[in-house]
Symmetry: C2
Subunit: 162 residues, 2 copies
């Protein structure tokens, strides 16, 4: 698929276009009470994610907060939509490392993500593909980093004719 085949806003970026140190900011994602409770009810049904009284009794949170898994999902949504807008089209995810839950996320917060490219590496097994690694920080409306993690995904290398 060439960039001209797509409806994306930007020309397609290949692995070679993403030098370590390059940064992106994608956002914003408004965190709603309804979505926090809906997500947690299905995937992380802890009382402090879905029940006001239980959350008030929790010594860490004090009120309903988002599941960490939900925060990851919201950040991933920002990332994938943002990647599409700047012309990054991953083949598939490979893994994540060093995910740290730093601060709670509450309904009413607004999140954005800051991504820094950390490494690009051609695959030995497939010369047309490589691995892209980057560090993601999830940041709330007060500029507080609530979560960080490192990701690696498979990307196409620039074709010889491109």
């Amino acid at each position: 698929m060439n960039a001209s085949d797509t409806d994306d806003a930007s020309p397609r970026l290949w692995l070679e276009d993403l030098a370590p140190g390059r940064t992106f900011r994608f956002g914003d994602y408004p965190v709603t009470r309804e979505e926090v409770i809906e997500f947690a009810s299905r995937y992380d049904p802890q009382p402090y994610h879905i029940d006001d009284a239980a959350a008030a009794a929790n010594p860490v949170f004090g009120r309903i907060c988002a599941s960490g898994m939900h925060t990851m999902a919201m950040a991933h949504s920002l990332q994938m939509r943002g990647f599409g807008q700047v012309g990054i089209h991953p083949i598939a995810g490979a893994g994540m490392d060093e995910l740290r839950v730093l601060r709670p996320v509450f309904p009413g917060d607004t999140l954005h993500i800051e991504i820094e490219i950390t490494e690009t590496r051609p695959l030995r097994s497939r010369e047309d593909r490589g691995l892209l690694s980057y560090l993601t920080s999830v940041v709330n409306q007060d500029g507080v980093v609530v979560m960080t993690y490192r990701s690696t995904l498979f990307m196409d290398r620039r074709p010889a004719q491109a």
Copy 2:
């Protein structure tokens, strides 16, 4: 909160009850086409997660497959419900490491998880709490491990009178 205060099936387990090497199996989670598309549409809108024709054209998958983030969420659902059933009640998640996406997950698959406790560590800052670390393998109906990751969460230590 004592075990007698809860409706759980099992007595509460404290950090000291979870020796490294102990294992748990929790499942099963049926992966439906509807949920795969619904989750991906919101959090990971890649064509190969939501569109049959695009998925058929993808060189890795060939048909619609679940978002890796969705696989994590389904595994987390199994874990949290399973933990409740065996009496494990985390205070909060702390982080994840070494998440590896090994094989695709397709609608029609049935997932379970296998957890092995790897480490317990008292907190220096709070003598009533500690950190529990474990390795999770997400396994499909054919016994194929589709994803692995390490998790750490905060847990209560056994009170002196318990």
